[in-house]
Subunit: 351 residues, 4 copies
């Protein structure tokens, strides 16, 4: 049997989400979000985030991010982010397209987490350049980051401070927000608007949903006209109930946190098992559900031959070693982890 | 109990679609369309359309239409269509947005179906205007139309003739394509590429799916880079299998035609029951699953009071009468129809 | 010698404009608008319009209109205007492109001037359609209109009233604003912001400049970030002084009004000479510097044969007659007018 | 008297250009480019470039670059260029806006000139990323570069080789193309299409014109529909003759080369005078008309105090020294150069 560590998006939807879809399918409901499930989702999200929020369900993370940024950034604006952020390298230019031309400006960060002073410096450059340069308009943080690390609350607050000082909106790409939250072990409110986050792309797909993300506005005034923006982009579902049902289940009974905690625990177990092996090195702190690991080439080949599935990852400066990415999910089992750990531990050169 | 004739998008998903979703949820699958279901969908669609086609599943009809048009039309291009086409009045500017500025040019049509000579004339005007005017680039037909009518094959062919002569792409908005096909009682190939259609937005959501539409390219060269276009618009699902599974079920075992035929039959039965009532008049030919009916205001009020659900429709020139739209679907029952018919027939002024 | 009534944009630049360019060319000046001429233009325009305005020079009318609209209208917005407005039929989709997808919604008007109640009705329709339809965002009036007519101040005020009531910005396409102003015989302030106009595209090219238009904001807050919008569109000149110099000369010593009054007078003289000829009919009121005239086909051919230059104009419902457009300008001479009048008057069938 | 080394765009237009404008102003001419001067420009450019080219005059370099790139690159495409290229940092997102969302991907280069292997590597990364990443579509080189250096023909050819191999269009931002050409001392054909350049933004404004740049297509098929693209962006002048007249004069009688050679010679003389001064260091090879010079802070202050005008330039790693940029032009005189040289040479610490 194959053990799949490719990504958290290869998993099926989890049982409570599927049950919610079934339950939503019993009878006719008004279309385009006028249904009772969508209304209940608003209430549920407001409860979870401990304030009146506005939530817009969409089907993909790229849509959530690009729509959120389009709300914050004019066509002549700049978004400051990590240079290898998902919005920069993995969304085929969606932020530029949705904003009508804005520019994500990538900042270097060895651990995927940008620093307040980098933003400060980039804004100063823009100010000096004046009208010739795009206007500083937003910051986008990925939480958990693309390196599997998680910003501390103090770190987010410091960035929000810079953002507020310069009138920039603060967007959080939370494709793996639940994993970050489980790691931070704080409330959803603490991790977002209490730290200064204006808009959150809240992911569910990678953490057990079938297809559901949400754009969450903490300042409801920021959400003005967002409904039309979503519609114009083809992201308003006629049978909206089926998106809302997933998100409602996701936020209910701590499902999102349970799923994420399990995924994180599996990642931690993997990290624990691998980190002391000879020739093996964790390249990043394992804060959430992703591991970036340097390994001897022969070990990587051996794991692949043993039908473990994962991606080799580009990583400079490793010499003969090879970097791989391992992703765990709500569906990863202890037995999956043990199997991989055992295979690595039994590899001759590692023991 | 409420009888809902509001729209075919208020319905639940039909049982075979839900079963297909469940079946697709058994195990991990590669993401972003590299899964076996998506592959099978390509084969199935090619079989159904009797030639090698390329199919791109998306979640909404607006996405399907706007992405298809963006593939055919440059930012400085024109799309000729019915003046009250869905792409003109109901998509919040999606075609303009996705194309980067192209212009849908609406043509008048009492029955929702534009004529070849109207396109010919509009193209001649554009040619005379030269560089100052948008470039004729595509025609978009809605089949079944926004008036519930269905273009004959000869009509589509005549329009395709004009389109080909002027180098215009021919797009078909098939949000209710299955209903049209059931009415035409011909093959899917006859109704599309054999008539000269280049790209089809194939709807499933209104006809029994949960959320599934497909952009179908009959000339595979036309599809170049469409995958990136879909991705940039946030319409590439990571768990693509769940879109493909719906469409695969939809095209299998004639499910789409069975659902559509039923909906059409219910509409025909309604039309039959209503058309001879005093003061009642069918405003359009009932070819598919929509009825536009002029009624005495009091009858409309009586039906509303009896908990029948439908929309009053703007319609000029009816004097004291009121226009309503009734939509049937795969889920409409003979008892729904009979109940409405009985209520109308028993209305004092109508008998 | 050819007498040219094709358009007011076939003319050379007038002498004061050329002199201003020469004067601006004496020495180095700061680039991108930091020069003294651009500063003086701001002051001059504020004086002319009797309030603090912000002026952005650009080189073309299409740029002025599209940039102004992009400032007023979001990508999911609607602009209400005459159905054959320049922004609809003659700018190759520039408004759609600059706004990122907004929709000019054309309203019918036999004389080129739309009515308040048409806008009211269109807004009501949009409100009923909700999120599915583009958001009412602006009105654009062309003054003088594409039919050569001029809105009265009361008419503009009535439209502004509707616009304000629904939160729409009011844009005036003033490619021939000076001609309208000369006709109205009021102050520039009366003709614009005192009537409720928010942004004016002020044309100079057709009225004696080499290449100069200006976007004038009456509410300076509306102009926020417009400098970047202009830059991003490639419309910020490095040697801005040469645009500003033209506009400064244009607004000085009543040059704009003198040029326009002359052009209007020539048009009126032509109208006077032609209107009583047998078989000849003015199709529109000649308020500014354009005439739309129905003539016997043979007369049109005779004038063409005599080397008078003008355009035949599409015009339905004229039977055997042919419509032509005659445009006068600052450079049209009384002798040009007399020559054409004489040729028409001596045409056998007309006398 | 101030000596202005701020930029080559602070200069007046040179005498032959002004004379050409006057000559073009004698009589009416057809508008929108149907005039004889625009026709003659096509012929002249074809003669200068030794093949049939298509030339589109526009007023600004940003417009030329962004329109050219929009012709080569789809909304989901990538343009590879120097990380501090004008199109990245100085055009306020114009490439993103004109393309509808494409992404300029900046590559590091100490001397402003990117290497073939950098492009190769970036393309390989994109290919590995597939649909998630923007599609490699074009390379843009600035010639002369933003660092005042000039690519050799062999260098351009090597980059063109990579571009052709991967199907990328090759754009040259020639805002200072004449300066590069004068340095290379070869034919315009050798410096462009014979090296594999597909489209050139040919600058004239910085080299003696009032406001004129041209987009030059060497492969005429590449120019399809470009006229509409220019129109939609508001860059088609109604009195086009005034743009064409400038460019015609520019390319006639070697005016462009004479102006550029003079500017280059002035820059070389400045470099020669400064390079051996104590504490002064040329930061880049002075190939064209720009110098980047590190100087003691006190010297910079002294030159500023003596009314020499130039920009301080951000430059990391200079310690106590300060970087400045000096730009020469067709209008720079030997006396300007001698004055600055003398001031620097007489600075106590430098001798």
């Amino acid at each position: 049997m194959k053990r799949n560590f490719n990504s958290d998006n290869v998993t099926p939807a989890c049982a409570p989400i599927m049950a919610a879809l079934q339950a939503a399918n019993e009878e006719p409901m008004p279309s385009y979000g006028a249904d009772p499930l969508t209304q209940r989702l608003q209430a549920k999200a407001s409860e979870v985030f401990e304030r009146e929020v506005v939530v817009f369900p969409v089907a993909t993370g790229t849509a959530a991010n690009a729509l959120a940024l389009a709300q914050l950034v004019p066509s002549y604006g700049a978004v400051y982010c990590y240079e290898a952020a998902h919005i920069v390298t993995d969304e085929c230019g969606a932020p530029e397209f949705f904003t009508g031309g804005a520019k994500p400006i990538g900042l270097a960060a060895a651990d995927g987490m940008i620093l307040p002073e980098q933003i400060e410096k980039a804004v100063a450059f823009a100010q000096e350049m004046g009208v010739h340069h795009v206007k500083p308009a937003a910051v986008s943080l990925t939480q958990a980051s693309e390196c599997g690390t998680v910003y501390t609350l103090a770190h987010v607050k410091a960035i929000a401070g810079v953002a507020k000082r310069h009138g920039l909106g603060l967007h959080m790409d939370g494709a793996r927000f639940a994993n970050a939250l489980a790691h931070l072990d704080c409330s959803a409110a603490d991790a977002t608007w209490r730290c200064g986050v204006d808009v959150l792309s809240l992911g569910a797909t990678k953490n057990g949903a079938l297809c559901a993300e949400a754009v969450v506005f903490f300042d409801t005034k920021r959400a003005e006209d967002f409904a039309r923006r979503r519609k114009q982009a083809g992201h308003l579902w006629s049978k909206m109930r089926f998106l809302s049902a997933q998100l409602l289940a996701y936020l209910s009974d701590d499902l999102w946190l349970k799923n994420a905690s399990h995924a994180n625990a599996m990642a931690a177990a993997l990290a624990h098992a691998l980190q002391d092996l000879k020739g093996v090195r964790l390249l990043q702190s394992v804060d959430a559900n992703e591991l970036f690991v340097a390994m001897p080439k022969a070990l990587v080949a051996a794991l692949e031959a043993a039908d473990f599935q994962f991606y080799r990852w580009p990583y400079p400066g490793l010499g003969d070693a090879v970097a791989i990415r391992l992703v765990t999910s709500y569906a990863t089992t202890a037995s999956d982890v043990e199997a991989l750990a055992a295979a690595a531990q039994s590899f001759p050169a590692c023991s």
